[in-house]
Structure formats: structure tokens, C-alpha cells
């Protein structure tokens, strides 16, 4: 296949990738985008495979088959597990970049040291540092999300943590510079694995201080890193398709990370180095206030009388797998002519858009999923706000309490609704370990229990009363 055809095919693939992302701007055209992506990827693979320099085919077939064998089950995970699947795929992306960078370095070192120009070495070092740190960092994130036993769930912090991390990174970067200046020195092939080791270690250390509530931002940042490592690979291999596709991925991760940070009123550096965990222990020791508990019957009666109900889902809904019960509740209320909307906070859940996917899975029309900024002006007119497993995103302390770690974070104004019902698994504080004033408000009534059971009971009670079953 002539180089002209290869380049033309790569340009075509690039255009299709851009269309794929463009079509994601509307749920009605989004599936078309997936098709465009699949076509582009197929073109890129076929054209590359057909290049004359590719002469061994056995391992390629084997690796592709293995990719299908592992990839298909990974695409069938329950939707509550999508955050850890996503983190895992960032890990794979980082690993691929790291390995190709490693392979290329040792190849050129033995079969053409003249190829190791300063520019190529910069690209290779960037590729391996980004690739390997994304690999272990994403594995750690996936482990935290999957609640793997030996991965600490709570943020792990220790004195001098940021200093250690920064120091480690500077050492890796310094060794990288030494290698860029002397890529073919006697010690170079031995230094290379040291840099890999440091990048792997740095990835782990970067993620251990991060708690579950910050996961949406961290996943987005890791997404960006995975994209950037693909860009670096493009520079190493002089392949513009890699550069463009990597840049699309990198900018996507960047935009999502910015949106997540804004939704928490925090900066990148604060999320990565802020160690959210330390502040909590100080504030969690406040005096004990009293919750008002409500029965299912009482809550059901109030909801029946409402004109407008807003349901505010959070990570607790995902944990309890309550989305299908929530749909039944939605149906029961709709049947009575009650307006039901869902208020979606950008950082609700463990990754960007997590709640939307879960509710769409439960067959709730996406037109009833409303963003925080859109629903907040309407909250004072809402009769009932039902909080399902959300905590920090409805905590009014974010507006008023200057000493609170979440001060300044935009929240859904649940407290401005006429009545609030909050479903909570236990009387312990939420993930961030902060007391939620909303629960002690005069108009708030608590429904203690597993979200799935509580909503199931509500549905049963409402269903029994209507006589339609």
C-alpha cells in the first residue's frame, strides 16, 4: 500500500473521529457517532496492518483476539460499575503508550541510535512517564471504586506527602533530562527502567490521598493523561493520526475535569494535592443534633398531595442499585398527575454523567433529567424534594458555613423546597465526613434505610392506595 493511500486513510479516520464526537452533542445523533468511530478505527487498523513493514501476523491476530475476549465482558458490566471500567480502560491506554515507548527506545538503541534525537527522546520520556503513571494511577482509582480489599478507600495522607510526591516527580524528570542529553550512554539502558519504576510509583502515590467524592475529577484528569500519552506516542512514531486522536481525548478529559472542578468550587491542584481527608476529621467532631424520622406512610401521603416533586439522586442510589425502584416511584407519581423531575449535580456519583446513565438505564426519559443550574431557580416552588443517597451536593453548609471544607461549592437547593425527605442508610455522616445541616432543618424528614427498600415500600404504599394493581 502506497504511503499516499495510508495518509489519506488516516485523514479520513481523523475526520470521522471528529464527527463521532460532534454527534455526541445530542442524544438523538449520538449512536451515529459510535458508528463513525468504529468505521474510523477499522480503517486505521486495516491500513496499518497492510503496510509492507508488517510481516509477522501471528502475534497480531492473537493480541486482537485476546482484546475481544477481554473487551466484550468489560462492556457488559452493570452500569453502576462503569466508573471502575472507565478507570481500568485509562490504565490500559496508559500501559499501551508506556510499552510502545519502551519498545521504541530499546529498538532504536540497538538498531539505529542515530534515531534517538533530542526531540524524539523528549517525546519518549514524556510518553513513558505519562503512560506508566496513568497505568498505576488508574489501576488505583479502579481499585478504590471497585472497593478492592487491599486498596484503601479513605484518603491516605501522611505528613510531607506533597513534598514526597513532588520530589519523586522531580527526580523522575531530572533522570529523564539526563537521558535526553545522553540517550546512548552506557548507563542509559539501565536508567530507563528506573524512570519507569518512578513513574509507576508516582501514579500510585498520586491517587492514594484521593477520596471517593473527588473521583469524578480524578477520572477526568486521568482521561486527559491517557490522551496526552497517545499524543506523545504520535510524536515518537511521527504519526499525525495518533496526535489528533490523542489530542481529542486529552481535551475531552481536560474539559470534563474543568467542569467537575467548577462544580466543586475547587482547583486542579486542590483536588490532586488538597488531601480532602485531613479537614474532615476536624469538623466531624461537632455536637450531636437530632434528626426527625418519618414513616413511609407519612412520606407517601405528603408526596401524594404534591404538585411538583424533585428527586435528587446521589452515589447512594448507585450503591443500593435503587434506580429501577426510583423509576417505579416516578411512574406512581406521574400517574397522579404530579410533575416529577430529577435534579442532577455535575459531581453526583463517581464519574461525570454517572447519574444520567443510571436513570436512563431505568428507562426514565432524559427530558426529565435537569441540570443543577436549571432546576435551582424553581426549587422554592417545589413541594417535595426527595434526596436519594446524595449528601454533600445538597448540604447548605456549602453556601453559609465558611469553615466547611465544601464551602463555596454550588449545590442543589433542596433546602428551599417546601418539604424535604432524605433517604439515608445510617446516621453516620456522608463520604466527606461532614455533617449535613439539611437533615436537621425544620422541614426535613429522614427516611432511614437502604434506598432500594425505602423506595420500594413507598411504591408499594402508593400503588396499594391507587387500586390500579
Amino acid at each position: 500500500m502506497s504511503p499516499g493511500i495510508v495518509q489519506f486513510a488516516y485523514i479520513l479516520a481523523t475526520a470521522l473521529f471528529i464527527f463521532a464526537l460532534h454527534w455526541m452533542n445530542d442524544p438523538r445523533t449520538a449512536r451515529q457517532g459510535v458508528m463513525a468511530g468504529v468505521v474510523a478505527m477499522t480503517i486505521a487498523i486495516v491500513v496499518t496492518w497492510a503496510q509492507p513493514e508488517v510481516i509477522h501476523h501471528g502475534w497480531i491476530v492473537l493480541a486482537i483476539v485476546a482484546g475481544f475476549v477481554v473487551g466484550i465482558p468489560l462492556a457488559r458490566v452493570p452500569l453502576t460499575a462503569v466508573p471502575q471500567r472507565t478507570a481500568l480502560s485509562h490504565a490500559f491506554g496508559g500501559l499501551a503508550a508506556g510499552l510502545v515507548g519502551t519498545a521504541k527506545y530499546y529498538l532504536w538503541l540497538s538498531e539505529g541510535p542515530e534515531n534517538l534525537t533530542a526531540f524524539r527522546m523528549i517525546a519518549i520520556i514524556a510518553e513513558i512517564i505519562l503512560g506508566y503513571l496513568t497505568f498505576t494511577g488508574s489501576l488505583m482509582a479502579a481499585g478504590k471504586l471497585q472497593e478492592v480489599k487491599w486498596v484503601p478507600q479513605r484518603p491516605v495522607t501522611y505528613p510531607g506527602q506533597n513534598f514526597t510526591n513532588l520530589g519523586l516527580f522531580l527526580i523522575a524528570a531530572g533522570l529523564g533530562i539526563a537521558l535526553i542529553l545522553h540517550p546512548t550512554a552506557d548507563w542509559a539502558p539501565k536508567l530507563f527502567p528506573v524512570i519507569i519504576g518512578l513513574a509507576l510509583l508516582f501514579g500510585v502515590l498520586l491517587i492514594i490521598p484521593i477520596g471517593g467524592a473527588d473521583m469524578p475529577t480524578v477520572i477526568a484528569i486521568l482521561n486527559s493523561y491517557a490522551g496526552l500519552s497517545a499524543v506523545a506516542m504520535g510524536f515518537v512514531l511521527d504519526n499525525k493520526l495518533l496526535i489528533t486522536a490523542g489530542a481529542l481525548d486529552g481535551s475531552s478529559g481536560l474539559i470534563l475535569a474543568i467542569i467537575m472542578c467548577k462544580a466543586m468550587n475547587r482547583s486542579f491542584t486542590n483536588v490532586l494535592f488538597g488531601a480532602f481527608g485531613q479537614v474532615q476529621q476536624i469538623t466531624a467532631g461537632g455536637d450531636h443534633k437530632v434528626y426527625k424520622a418519618e414513616t413511609i406512610e407519612g412520606a407517601g401521603q405528603v408526596m401524594e398531595q404534591a404538585n411538583q416533586v424533585v428527586i435528587i439522586p446521589g452515589y447512594g442510589m448507585a450503591v443500593a442499585q435503587a434506580q429501577h425502584k426510583v423509576r417505579e416511584l416516578y411512574d406512581q407519581l406521574k400517574k397522579r398527575g404530579i410533575t416529577v423531575k430529577f435534579a442532577i449535580h455535575p459531581v453526583a456519583g463517581r464519574m461525570p454523567g454517572h447519574m444520567n446513565v443510571l436513570l436512563a438505564e431505568a428507562d426514565i426519559p432524559y427530558t426529565d433529567l435537569v441540570e443543577m443550574d436549571e432546576i435551582n431557580p424553581d426549587m422554592p416552588q417545589v413541594d417535595v424534594a426527595l434526596v436519594v443517597g446524595a449528601n454533600d451536593v445538597v448540604n447548605p453548609a456549602a453556601r453559609s458555613e465558611k469553615s466547611s471544607p465544601i464551602y463555596g461549592m454550588p449545590i442543589i437547593d433542596a433546602d428551599r423546597a417546601r418539604t424535604v425527605f432524605a433517604i439515608k442508610r445510617s446516621k453516620n455522616p456522608g463520604f466527606a465526613g461532614i455533617d449535613n445541616e439539611l437533615y436537621f432543618s425544620d422541614k426535613t424528614w429522614m427516611l432511614f434505610g437502604d434506598a432500594k427498600n425505602v423506595i420500594g415500600e413507598l411504591v408499594k404504599m402508593l400503588g396499594g392506595g391507587s387500586g390500579l394493581h
Binding site: 449512536r31 491506554g93 539505529g112 504520535g234 496526535i243 446513565v357 436512563a360 428507562d363
Partner: protein, 110 residues
């Protein structure tokens, strides 16, 4: 045919940088318009797209290189392929679920 296959002495740094800058701007412009509803599928489709690293992995695995180099390529190819397959499949699976309203008949239960 050979000039493309043979190792290139000097890479075209400036045109690569040019491509990177332009692609980043296109990316920022396109992604900013993506519906917030679809941020999770967006992440899984960009995962699949960035697995374009497959292109580099195929060359490293299939070219006439020493076996240990090709083995690294094969592992990278496996990792990329996993991302491509699972990324596109799960994106489509999620997108299928986004509907404006229920199909007639979906109201009847059990």
C-alpha cells in the same frame, strides 16, 4: 515504498506541533458542545478513540524486530484492542438507553 518503512532521520517537529495545536482547538470546540447528559458515554467513546495507539502497536508487533520488542508491542496491542472493543460496545449500550419517552406498552408491568 521503502522510504516510508525505513527509519526517518529527522522528524517533522513543527508540522507535528501544528497538528497538535489545531487538533486540541477542534477537540475543545467539539467537546464543549457535548450534552451534559452524555458525559459518561463521552468518556467511554474517547477511551476507545484514544486507543488509536493500536496503530503504533501493530507496527511494533508485526515488523521485523527482535522478539522481546515485539512482545511489548503485542501486550500494548492487546491493551489497546481491549479499549477499542469495550469502549465502543459500552458507549453504544449506554446510548441506547437514552430515550425521550417510553414506548407505548412499556407502562404495563410484569
Amino acid at each position: 515504498m521503502t522510504p516510508d518503512a525505513a527509519p526517518v532521520q529527522s522528524t517533522d517537529f513543527w508540522s507535528q506541533l501544528f497538528v497538535l495545536v489545531l487538533a486540541t482547538f477542534i477537540g475543545l470546540g467539539v467537546i464543549r458542545r457535548v450534552s451534559r447528559l452524555l458525559h459518561t458515554p463521552l468518556m467511554s467513546i474517547t477511551n476507545a478513540i484514544s486507543a488509536i495507539a493500536v496503530v503504533g502497536s501493530i507496527i511494533v508487533t508485526g515488523a521485523d524486530y527482535p522478539p522481546h520488542i515485539r512482545l511489548l508491542g503485542a501486550i500494548a496491542l492487546f491493551a489497546s484492542m481491549t479499549n477499542i472493543v469495550s469502549g465502543f460496545l459500552i458507549t453504544d449500550r449506554m446510548l441506547k438507553m437514552f430515550k425521550t419517552d417510553r414506548k407505548p406498552g412499556a407502562g404495563e408491568q410484569k
